[in-house]
Every structure is written in structure tokens, then in C-alpha cells.
Amino acid sequence: MTSGNTSKQNKIVEIILQSEMGYSIKNKIHNSLPDHFESKQALKDKMKTLLSNAEIKQSICNEIYRFNSKYKVNQGKEEVDYLLEAQKKWEEQLIKSINTIASERGKPLAAPMGDHDVANFRRKWKSLGTEMNEDTNYKPIYSQKDLFAYLCKIRNPNYKEFVMGQETRGTLGLIKIPLATIDIKELQNQFIDLSLDRSHIGVEQADNSNTNPIEEQVVLALSAASTSSLIPVALRACRFGVTPSLRCTLWPLALDIDLESRKGQIEFINLEKDVLTNSLLLDQIFINDVKSNSANDDNYFVFEDPTLQVLLCAARDYKMMSMYTHSNASPLKCVNKLIDGGQEIVAYPPSGLIPMYGVSYFISPLCYVFSHHWKIYSTFTAMYTRYFHKLTVISTDTNSILSLSKHFEMLLIEKHPMLFLHLISCGIQPLKFAFRWMTCAFAGYLEAEQVLLLWDRIIGFKSLLLLPIAATAIFEFRSSNLMQVQRSEEAEAVLYNLNHVAIIPLIQQFLFVPNQLLI
């Protein structure tokens, strides 16, 4: 045995012993050992049988996976000064926005409810969607448009000097700052599992036969993955798409959230209690959001109640603050006027979830996957803190909305320069459309089934880069029509209805089929 191997093994043992599971293994071994062993050999054998136990093997595997992925997480916070500044200024705007609402409405940021209100609210809780009305006096804190306009205004103070004689194609788009992007060739490597020669859920086979042997194979592999209980296996499986009935087991496994124990359920019940006793100024904004977005949508209106309940709970869950540990954004510090006339500075809302208009679209699609509200809740918070939160952050992180926007423009220029030039010359900015799709991860634009198929891949590849890829793929798909438009309204008409779009084949096409149309 080489020394390298030994040190690796030592490392693994160390990881396991430090983890929560390590304690339980130690306990198991301890409890199962008789007081006296006849020989050292017997002790060793006993240990061996214990460790070969399948369940323990799985846990060890998952533990190692968790340990490894900790290092892969983008550790360093943003280091580019002017982006840090931009993020800070943006947050100041949001605080202002919240304070304006508070003073206009003359309400505190948060306040305990009176007994009468509590009883009243409790009665309404089960059918919150029907009972609560939209109040248009409460404007959203910010909309996609606000963020979009803000991103377009960001400039690199050092950039001017580099324009002359340097590559200037980036300046054609709306994101004016230089950001490293990944080109199609590199994306092909990163997303090799999406290539056309692999079988995928969400891609109809050419022969329209009812029983598809390839799909059956995929389904078999999927159910094997869901019973394996191994995180990496589940992640890999998600890359190929998941059938509707297996999502409820594969997604939690791939996201490494525990939906089996009662812990999550109890936490959710406590949050519900919090909603029922303490009102937040933002509550009405969440209600408005659900009313005018997901509850107003063909695909999701039936889920108005669960969506609203989950959203109100999410506003109060301090655990969601974890999203700020790996991002250069920070929770908003707002001034809460106390009843006794004093003031206190609080992180607001308590969970740090600052709702961009349309935030409810991140919840409703999950109602197709789980029927229990707390499962919807746990999955939503996991996905939001890890991924969707990044859709509101200004940083160089590849998953941030700034970088995704830049990626969209660069990808479109790389593959369809003529289309890009044509649209720009007509005064149509492609990013304007893509931005809307990306900021809600396509929910509300694609059909529910397609949204879930896309989210499968986001979970599987752990990357939001699929959003700009999907957006460019739609532009590619509609390119012959887009080449003929002259005005923004015409482009709007071409891109308005994405109802029958099957997104996965388009993504495959975009990444792996060279452009023949415009050469």
C-alpha cells in the first residue's frame, strides 16, 4: 500500500469521525461489542461486518461526497471592487423601497397580531388564496425591470482604456462590463451528459412507438438511482431528466435534504404558527405576488393556497440566511420602529428572502412534485438558497444573474452573430426577453412539465448556466422568424408564446449541433 493511499484513507476516517454519522457509527460499534473479546482477530472481523453493512456504506459515501463538495463551493466572496460597490448600492435601494412602503402604509416592519386577528387569520389559513385579497397599494419591492435596468448601468471604471484595439464585441450587448464567460466548446464538455447520443427524459424519440425501449432503460436506471440512496448517483440521474413519479424521491436525494424524518415537518408547523401570530409588512407583498403571478397562470392557479402558505413561511425562516454565506449579497438591515417609540436595526425580512416580483414562480412548480406542504417548503428553501437566490445577486460568480446575462449575450453572439446584429440594428435587445425568462427560471413561460424537466438538469448539473443556454436555444429555435422582425413588438409576438416548446431537445441542439442556418 502506498503512503498516498494510506493518507487518503486516514483522511476519510477523519471525515467520517467528525461527521454526525461518525458518532452514530461509533455508538453502533460500541453497543454491539461484547465486553470481552477472545482475540483481536474477532474484534477485527466484527468491525468488518459492521462496515460492510449496506446502509453504513451508503452513509459513508454520502458523507465523503458532502465533504468534497464543501470545497467546491465558491468560497471566496466577490473580490471585484466595483461589483461589491454595485451590490451594496443595490441593497441600499431595496432598503429605501421597503422603508417607503412602511412609511406610506404607516405600518411597522413586523408586529405581533392581536388575539382577534390571530383567530381570524387561523380560520382563513386553509384557504388563504381565496380569503386574502390583492392590495395594490403595496408595490413590489423590486421587479425584473428594476434589476435589469440596474445591471445595464454597471460600468467598469477601468474599462475605457481597454476598448481601443481590443476585442469589443462585448460592448454590443447590454452588459457593458468585461466578465469571463464560458464558450460553447467548454460548455459541451461541462454538459457532455446532454449530448444527442444519450437518452433523455423529455426528448421524444423519432419513432413514435408507444413502448420505447430506451426510455424504459432510463426509467429503470432512475428507479435504481432512487433506491441507491447515493447522492452522486441521484445527481447524475437528474442530468438525464426524471419521470414525474420519481421526482419526489430523486430530487430530495440529489439536493441532499431529508424529507423522511419528522424534523422538517415540525419546523414547518412552527413557521406556520409564526405566520399566524406575527404579521410582516411584506406579507401583503407576498400575497400580491402570488395573486398576480402564479395564481394568475394556466399552469399553477390551482396551487394558489400551498404557494402562498409556503411563501409566507419562507419569509420567517432564519435558516434561509445560509444563502448569504456563499454570496456577496447581504441581508437587508432595516430600521424597525418599536411601539414604545424606540428603534432597532433588524435583518429584514427575518429569512433574508427579499422578494423579486414573481418569486412565487419558484414555488408553484414544486406543487406538481410533492403534495405535502412541508415537503414543497423544504425543497423550495433548498433550491432557493442554493440556486435561485443567485438570480438576484450582482457578482462575478457564474451563477449570478449578472454573469448569466453576460453568458446569454456572448452565447448568442458566438453562435448566431447575424441574428444578434440584426436584432441590435433594429433596436431590439435580445437580453430584454431572456432576462425575464431567466429570472424566474422559465416558470410562467414554459409549460409546467418543461419547467420541471429543465429544473431536473439544474439540480443534476448544479448549475444555472442552463438558463442562458435555454434562452439562447429558444432564440435559435425561432431564429428564422426573428431574422424577419423589424420592430420590438414583432419580436415580442414571435417570442410570446412558448407553450409548445420542448426545451431539452432545443438545448441539445444548441450545444451540440453546429449552426448551419446562417453560414
Binding site: S127, F301, V302, D305, C367, Y368, S371
Partner: protein, 425 residues
Amino acid sequence: MSIPNTAPTKPATLVRWATDVEKSVITANCEKRPGWVRGNIENDDWNFYWTSVFTTRSIFSLETGYRLADDQIISHFPNHYELTRKDHMVRNCKRYRKDLEREGNPLADKDEFGRYVYLDFLPQTYILPADYNIFVEEFRRNPSSTWIVKPAGKAQGIGIFLVNKISQIKKWSKDKAGSQQIPHTKDVYIISKYIPDPLLIGGKKFDLRMYVLVTSYTPLKAYVHTQGFCRFCTVKYTASLNELDNLFVHLTNVAIQKHGEEYNETHGGKWSIKNLRLFLEGTYGKRASDKCFDEIFWLIHHSLKAMQGVISTDRHCFELYGYDVIIDEALKPWLIEVNASPSLVTTTANDRMMKYDILNDMINIVIPPGEGVDTRVKRGPPKVLGGFEVLCDEEQRLLEAKQFERRDSRAGNKGKSVKRLSTWK
């Protein structure tokens, strides 16, 4: 009138179409077809006539003495009401089950409670006033049950009310003469057991609308469209008795729901079947979801089989039905009623697209693209199904069975053939 041969150069007139339902989903569908021109109803100069049930009835009535020509097809069967009037449908289905039972057909097997094992797809239903006494007897056995009363010949939720005390019926039957609510005293009502535990999604009750095309009853040729929708109540469902008067809770008809305060113009309370399936598969599993839809096809199939021999087969007729189905908590579907003239009023953009697609696919089946109308020609199975799926094609099944027998006898195989035939089951 003869059908001109298709000239290779310029599109000849293939079909003269006509309609007395001036809805854009139908007219736009006809206008865009190459070789289709608008015919004339007054002069009987038409090949394809999309009519209301009233027009069809008057065309087929004895007084007019009108006979359809070989190149004319019309959008209803003359006695469609056997399926589409609630009382007739119930009577026919009950008779069908009795007939099968008498034959000793295993389909009509009953369980220990006397319920049909395979054909229990209608909620317990009685016809009023004819079955009044039987109903009262049944009600006394289950005094706490809720029943729904509907006029047999009305659609869109008109005249429907809920009943949970026998006095409500008595009063109604006593008041019958002279009451303003019921202008025609001879009007027949049906009273059905109200499904107490409907499947709720997001806490709301819904029913299912499926579109079924029948081009022939004997042999049965029927197609189900994949695009249908769920209609949702706008108000949260409660089984409580105080809400019995609030029809918005219980009735899912869009025509009724439209008057509710909560009616939403964007989605109109309509949810696609595709999304329902996605939801059921996700939250109940694939097997349960597939079983539910299989049972829906099963009940459509047998409700149509029950009409064989009752609805006269006419080569000039085809009909598009709107099936209303309610699914209960155990994912068991129940047939509520069948509509002969499914509403072509479109409420939302998606709704219009869906109805346009369904009519387009329907026309492609009854008059294949590029062909004219000739009822003498025996056509094989449709080449273009579009969004339709074959529910049953007895002609094709017979053909395949014959071919199979031949193959079997050649191979010397006397065993039962196990090959799937051209029907869903």
C-alpha cells in the same frame, strides 16, 4: 352534386361547408382548408354541415322529409339524445348492464354488496318523477346523504340544486304545477347521489371535460382527444351543509362559475389534462395515475357500447361529445353527463387554441385532407389522428382479428391470440 376530381394545377372545390354556429373556431377552421368553400344552407348546397342539435333534429324530422345525399355529412346523430339527455343516458346504461348480466357476461359481475365490479361508473341515479318511490326508499336507507337534482334536458348547470332532506323533493314535486322555476310541468329530472369525497386539488373541486369523437356506432368507431381540461370551482370546497346553497362550491360549469366573483379571466378556472396527469403522476405515482385514466377510457367506451342498437347508425353523421367526469379521492372516475354540443364559446386564449386544435383534428378524421365527402366509400382507419387517440375501432379490430386467425391457423396455433388489438384495451 358530384365531387370534382382534384385538378393537379389549381385547387378544385372539394367540400362545400356550412354552419349555423357562427363561432370563429369553426369558421376559421373551414376557411383555411384548401379546396373548401362556403356552401349554401338554403339551397341545401353543402357537403359538411356543422349544426346545432336543433337544426339536425329538424333536418331529420319526418315533416321535412329531407334525405341526406351521398356527399353530405352532418355534425349530429338524429337521436343523439339517447346519450346526451341525462335521463336517457342513465336508462340506456342501466339497460346495457342488465343485458350483459342476463347474457352471463363476466363484465357485469357484481361484488358482495350488489355493486357492479367493472361497470360501476355512474353515481347512483334515479329519474324523477318516474323513480320517485324507489328513490324515497333508497333515501330512507341513507338519510344523511346528499343528492343533486338536475333537469334532464338542460345544460350549463341550469336548474340544478342540491338536496339532503326528503322534504325538499316533496315540496318540489308538490309545487311542481304552477311553480315559476319549472315552466314545463312534464319536464323530467334526474336525481343522483352527490359524490361526497371528490378529489380536491389545492383544496378545490373540479371536473374533467374530455372530447370524444364518434364517427360510427355499429361498428363502434370512437376517438378521444388528448386535450381536455379540468374545470375548477373558484371557492374552496367544504362538505358542510351550510354551503349547500352556494352553488359555486359544488358546480364546476364554467357557465356558472363565470358569475362568481372570483372568476379569473386569464385562466378561466381551466387546467389542462396534461397538467392533471403530471400532478397525479408526481403525487400519486405513475401506476395510480395510469389506472385512473384507463378507467376514464373504460367508462367512455362502455357508455358508447350502451348506445349500440339504440342510436341509429347513419353514415351521414358524426358527433363530437363533451364528456363530464368527476374523480373521487380514491382516483375513481364517475361519469356525470355527456354533452352533444360542447361549448364552442372560447373564454381564454389557451381555450381558443385548444378548441381550434380539436375541431381541426376532428375534421381531418371525418374528411381526410385533400378528399371530398362520399359516404359510400368505406374508409380505413384515419391516417391523421392529430391529438385524437383511438378509443375503439371495431371494424379495424375485426379485420385484425381475422388476419390474426388466418396467421394462427397457418401456424397451427390454436391458442387464444394475445396480440393487442386496435383499441386501448
